[in-house]
Symmetry: D2
Subunit: 297 residues, 4 copies
């Protein structure tokens, strides 16, 4: 068996830049598949891939379709899907290939600045074909950094930092966000957000995943007595800290290290791994399959 050939088509298709992506989200999928496949076939739209998931009673279906031989305009298709889904009580999102060229990036953060800073730096020194269109946080500590870069900042958290996810979704929609980067955003996104940006949310987690998922990973690593720790940038799925790994960095844990020691060593690597993961994503270098990422050949 050749590990190098294990990419499954599912994801190669998922990342195919020629395809249009249709995501339907809602409580109840009664009749959805029959209605939507009919609608697509009547318009000469070919379904290349279809993926379904249910989390916390929320249903999501994502289709990648070929519209190259479509009858009618993109607007016609979008309108027809809107009408159908409104009738079924579902939300629908259609992303044509051209829609995805905008490359608006949203950075979500909390209070730590090192990853946000590194992302802004990367934009200044490199020249990614995308822009940081908005910074969203659940506290207001990082507003000055966004302002210094003339980027809109939204604090969607309440006094205790509990985020208003409807507001968050509105902000992401208003800014036509194509990629969401969690730069030490210390909250768990609900399926309602993750489903809408599946494969387009990148998080940095301060452990060598799959080790030490969840809270306080540096503390967990110390408690486990490891001699090597690290950080992981990964796509976010509805399974916490279990999405496909994009980049990792390791570092040695000195004897008798404290959590603060690990943070000191790890934070520059967090920023580095996250920036590289974002770059790989934006340059379309990644394909995802069976829970893993691979570099496009």
């Amino acid at each position: 068996r050749n590990d190098a050939n294990e990419h499954d088509r599912h994801t190669v298709v998922a990342m195919n830049p020629r395809l249009t992506e249709i995501t339907v989200i809602g409580d109840d999928d009664t009749g959805l598949i029959a209605r939507i496949t009919s609608l697509l076939f009547e318009r000469g739209v070919n379904i290349e891939d279809l993926d379904q998931a249910v989390r916390q009673d929320l249903f999501r279906m994502t289709m990648r379709v070929d519209t190259s031989e479509m009858d009618g305009s993109k607007d016609d298709l979008r309108r027809a899907l809107d009408d159908l889904c409104e009738e079924l009580g579902m939300d629908v999102q259609v992303r044509f290939p051209a829609d995805r060229e905008t490359r608006q990036v949203a950075v979500l953060a909390t209070k730590e600045s090192h990853c946000l800073d590194a992302l802004f730096d990367a934009w200044e020194t490199g020249d990614p074909d995308a822009e940081i269109g908005v910074v969203v946080a659940n506290h207001d500590d990082l507003a000055p950094i966004a302002e210094a870069h003339d980027v809109p900042f939204y604090d969607v958290g309440d006094a205790g930092g509990v985020p208003d996810e409807e507001w968050l979704l509105d902000v992401l929609a208003d800014h036509d966000v194509d990629l969401v980067v969690l730069a030490r955003y210390m909250r768990i996104l609900s399926p309602n957000v993750v489903f809408r940006y599946e494969s387009r949310i990148i998080n940095i987690h301060p452990s060598l995943l799959p080790a030490f998922p969840g809270a306080e990973p540096y503390r967990q690593a110390l408690d486990a007595g490891v001699r090597v720790a690290g950080v992981t940038a990964h796509y976010v799925t509805t399974d916490l800290d279990q999405g496909p790994i994009i980049t990792q960095r390791a570092f040695n844990v000195p004897d008798d290290a404290t959590v603060a020691d690990l943070e000191r060593r790890g934070q520059p690597l967090e920023a580095e791994a996250l920036v590289e993961a974002v770059r790989l994503h934006l340059e379309d270098d990644l394909v995802v399959g069976r829970g893993r990422t691979h570099l496009r050949n």
Copy 2:
């Protein structure tokens, strides 16, 4: 929230007796969805439900389709799907509603006879609309029981009891088996078997699942010091002992009980729970949704 209404359409559809079931299994699904959905639409066949899974590099897609307005005959559809899947290097299985009326049951067993006996008894005393068409085992100890009931018996195990699953699949196909009952069959079925009979394999496990999955559940229960033990009949999925629960029976564990004591108390309940689960399945009383079974209203 009303738990009683949580049935998801996905499974209600899955069990809809009017629908035709198409299962495609293979290593690689390249182009499968586009090709098969086109083929179906061109023939006026409506896709009501679509479900995909991957286990151990084996891919499965199951569609439930409405053929009531189909152009052409059932044989035409079957032949077209056969041709397409042969071209794609996949296996396809088409089960029209009428195909499922045969109700041939295969019982898989190893050496313990109590569940096999109880199934034969149930057939004699009750009158299920189905028949035990074949008994398959990975040892030959139970051959006399099958013979006493004039039912063909196959020992597909080698000297050590390792089953030849290709042979098993051939036997199941030759006997047009519609339901597979694991009557203390002490081997794990591979995805290659499970995928072909998904939602149509019922197992009896001697614990109150989800507690004590895997080997030696009575021993596990004793080691955990429980005061109540039990048994579970459930649908088999590719996740060991985690398929939807159909029936359960509990019994008290006497102080200082041994494994033999638990077997003595549990085995009659194993037979009872299994027979009831098989009856519920055959009478179409079960719907499965989100990993649980419910009784059809």
Copy 3:
């Protein structure tokens, strides 16, 4: 192998009513064993059993000792141990056999009354050789029930129900409490409490443990689709919901049951299992060994 003989002496000794129990708790055990064993031997006190544990940086050592040939009085021993432990910065608790005859029971509760009511009922109808000396809660809802039985009630919770465990420990000490019964007390006791009352805290958990530990067990059971649910009374250890099981009760889950349905069926059984477990404990019918309980022959 005979399961009936698996009792380990460790626990038989632990429950030996002739023995004196010495529990030492603190942050740091430097020199403790050498000092304390010397102190005991010099006084003719024999160590029958010794058990140590560490949780969340808190250290506990429990010794069961034979003082039948001791030089000096019980007060002398107590004073000597107090002096030594004060010097070492540890807390020590000495329970002579006679101390344990008081049989003062503390009931800890939150808002649900059914278990507390059942305990008071059991005391009135039966005649356990013990008395409910105090009721402690983290809310004040149940104060009237305690008052109706002329039993002191303490609400050690703050506005949000967060309990003050130092206050709780003071109440337990002031009332010479020998057994702590958690009658749907919806908080997790810290090791600081558990260590001080190890093997003397009984909890009722609304699932058939080891299945569904933690929060919302009825909800967990429904989500798992079980057909049999139940309740468990068990000794509390520092491992949540994993202490030795004392009694269990099972009940059938009706099709399409809700959480409320399970509560309705389960709550009378919670009360019943808890009352029986308390009775077994107070009548010295239980021995604990290797994580399981057994009935004394």
Copy 4:
């Protein structure tokens, strides 16, 4: 809280080179503590530390004792303990500080030679205060390597590689083995072996533990899609691959790497991490506490 000070005395004592170590192993510990502590006190031997464990119905107690003020000779103590334990049906092992100066190392292996080679190399180039006294394997493939270094070699495996652990224990005893090094020994040692050499068995595991314990860790790492993999040398306990970590090495996983690629990169690091861990152990640089190792200051 200062992580650097979390060492618990328990282990500092455990590694104290001045202390004598007494390990008692058997099925049943009835009366053991009372009898053994009396025996020690009557001889002026001070118990500094006491640790007990039970696995698979096997009981182990380890005491570290101060014999500097002992009445009688070392042989007297050893004989008295032998007599007592024979009477109680237990095995006892007494290791005086001087006994531990022999530093005989046993290497256990299977078929892979890279770690065994590296250990022999380290002995030739460095000058550890110890010698490889014996090589034991469950296959005979590595016999030539042991012979080339004039070290006795025992194949204690049967045709299928199942080891005879009684024979293994005899070999270890005959060679006065003080440290057991598992150099890719592909079998799990039973508690009967581990209890006798607790804190004196070092294993190399080809993953960054605690990630990927158990079989085929490189395969597990690939399946998890990691970008950084590694190896861990650790003390062996009765909990598989969970003993205190001594050394770790990380390496980058190239895109589309195969298991063979990981082995190629990992094996030199396995040898390096294992040799360093053995060196640290032999130079008494390690203290173990609360499941972690620390370097002696």
